[in-house]
């Protein structure tokens, strides 16, 4: 029987290693395919070049890096305040019945496929921006708003859990001292929940940076560095998805190299999230 148990334990360990095996395969294959062109052009040249023109052999992805940064910042600017306020209302203010119903409704938002978000942005948001604010409508702004809405469920549910984890005694102490509910939230609950809220923001950021299909449909995808939020923009993810279908040779390598840059950005964000989580535990 002992021997049987050891066998089970080792078999399970081998199965459990499949996640890390997949991760290793992803890294190996994408780096193998994308690194030759980075080596040829030089990493600095590749990420600071401002011209992306595959037909002329020019591969600079600075416009896409800037594009991803702009669009992600826009998403955070919209998603974080709305998400945090919603989480505070649901966790601290609303009666628990209402709160449960609204929370499930918002969780359903997370289930809507990203292409549908992009499409709604395309048919509702883009024309509105074109009409009221000018420009082509396909813009940093449109992409930021669509992504901001897409990261809402993540921000709301993580912030909600974090707020609920703040011990009740903190609130009672404050209220006993004569503080109002808002003073209690502002001075005690939010500071206590800060590391968790930061982790939620980083998580949302990772989702926004990595989102592809929704962005393609509303961002306009021009390979220029945008100088205003009303100008079209192309992100790293869109760059891959738009051209992958027909790219060959050096062009295809450059798309995998774009994937490497994206991968590194995501890895840095994940590490950051892990560090924040560790600080929180101390």
């Amino acid at each position: 029987m002992r021997r049987g148990e050891t066998l089970v334990q080792w078999s399970l360990a081998i199965v459990a290693l499949s996640a890390i095996a997949v991760l290793a395969l992803i890294i190996i294959f994408i780096f193998k395919e994308g690194s030759p062109i980075i080596a040829r052009l030089g990493m600095v040249q590749f990420i600071t070049g401002t011209k992306w023109s595959p037909t002329r052999g020019m591969f600079g992805i600075l416009p896409m890096i800037v594009g991803s940064v702009w669009v992600t910042l826009g998403a955070l600017l919209i998603g974080v305040p709305i998400g945090l306020a919603t989480a505070i209302f649901l966790a601290e203010m609303a009666p628990s019945g209402t709160s449960q119903i609204l929370k499930s409704a918002i969780q359903l938002l997370a289930g809507i496929p990203s292409v549908v978000f992009g499409f709604i942005g395309l048919v509702i948001l883009v024309p509105l921006i074109r009409q009221w604010l000018g420009g082509p409508g396909f813009s940093v702004l449109a992409a930021g708003i669509v992504l901001g809405i897409m990261i809402l469920p993540t921000i709301v549910s993580v912030c909600y859990d974090v707020l609920k984890a703040v011990p009740q005694a903190y609130r009672e102490g404050m209220l006993a001292l004569g503080a109002t509910r808002w003073q209690t939230i502002k001075m005690v609950v939010l500071p206590a929940a800060r590391p968790g809220i930061i982790a939620a923001v980083i998580l949302g950021m990772g989702r926004a940076v990595g989102e592809t299909m929704a962005v393609i449909m509303v961002a306009g995808n021009a390979t220029r560095i945008p100088v205003s939020p009303l100008e079209p923009v192309r992100t790293l993810t869109s760059n891959i998805a738009l051209e992958m279908g027909y790219a060959v040779g050096e062009h295809r390598e450059a798309l995998f190299a774009t994937g490497i840059v994206l991968f590194i950005i995501i890895a840095l964000l994940n590490t950051l999230a892990r560090l924040v989580a560790r600080v929180e535990k101390v």
């Binding site: 459990a16 294959f29 709305i82 919603t86 203010m93 359903l108 992958m244």
Partner: protein, 272 residues
Amino acid sequence: MTDRRVTLLFASITGLTVIILVVIIGYVMVNGLPGLTLPFLLESPREMGRTGGVFPAIVGTVLLTGIALIIAAPVGILTAVYLTEYTRDTWLPKIVRFGTESLAGIPSIIFGLFGFLFFVIYLDLGWSVLSGALTLSAMILPTIVRTSEEAIRAVPDAYREVSLALGSTRWQTVTSVVLPSAKPGIMTGVMLAIGRAIGETAAVIFTAGSSLRLPRTLLDSTRTLPVHFYILAREGISLENAYSTAAVLILLILAINIAAYTIMDRLAKKES
């Protein structure tokens, strides 16, 4: 600011969040439901999808999601069993956990690139049901591991102790006591993973391709509902059919997610 005003402000912001949800789903339904007829569900598309239905895309979606699940569910659940029942604090579970967490953060387009390089080209499976399903299974693995782990951890230790005291081995305890008790929680996780797989576009379009024909073997290319929707909408083939396809997609995912959360709610009530 006074308490009342702050509450009012935050309540309106919450209202805004909910309104956005209602508008998105409502808009798709209002425009999509009129075209959502039985023939639309059961017919093949004609003229690239300008007319006709979405039957092959439904078959493609079900095949891809089903096969992805057959692969990812056992691997994910066994990984969770390993992490909760079979490890002390050694280096191995740390690596496993690192791998799962990292995988969870990888964008779907990267999975698409990987699936294209590894399954489509390197393993020479081509654009196919199998390539798409394998790619999806890698993508949903972390969700299944995480939710199963939570569900298994929630099983009271007393259950395990009783089973072990009766002379069962650890594995017998897992199969006859722990997993049955954790089943509803695991089911919730699996359903959330299905929801994610059904709606995925970027990882699927480069691995399963976009053939409109009904796949005959697992090595045939196919097109899923979100891919079909994306092509209809982006290439402006038929806005009408795009709306109806989106409506099918959303109804499918809503049904699965509502079922998942209902199970979870019932669980929470049973515990309290």
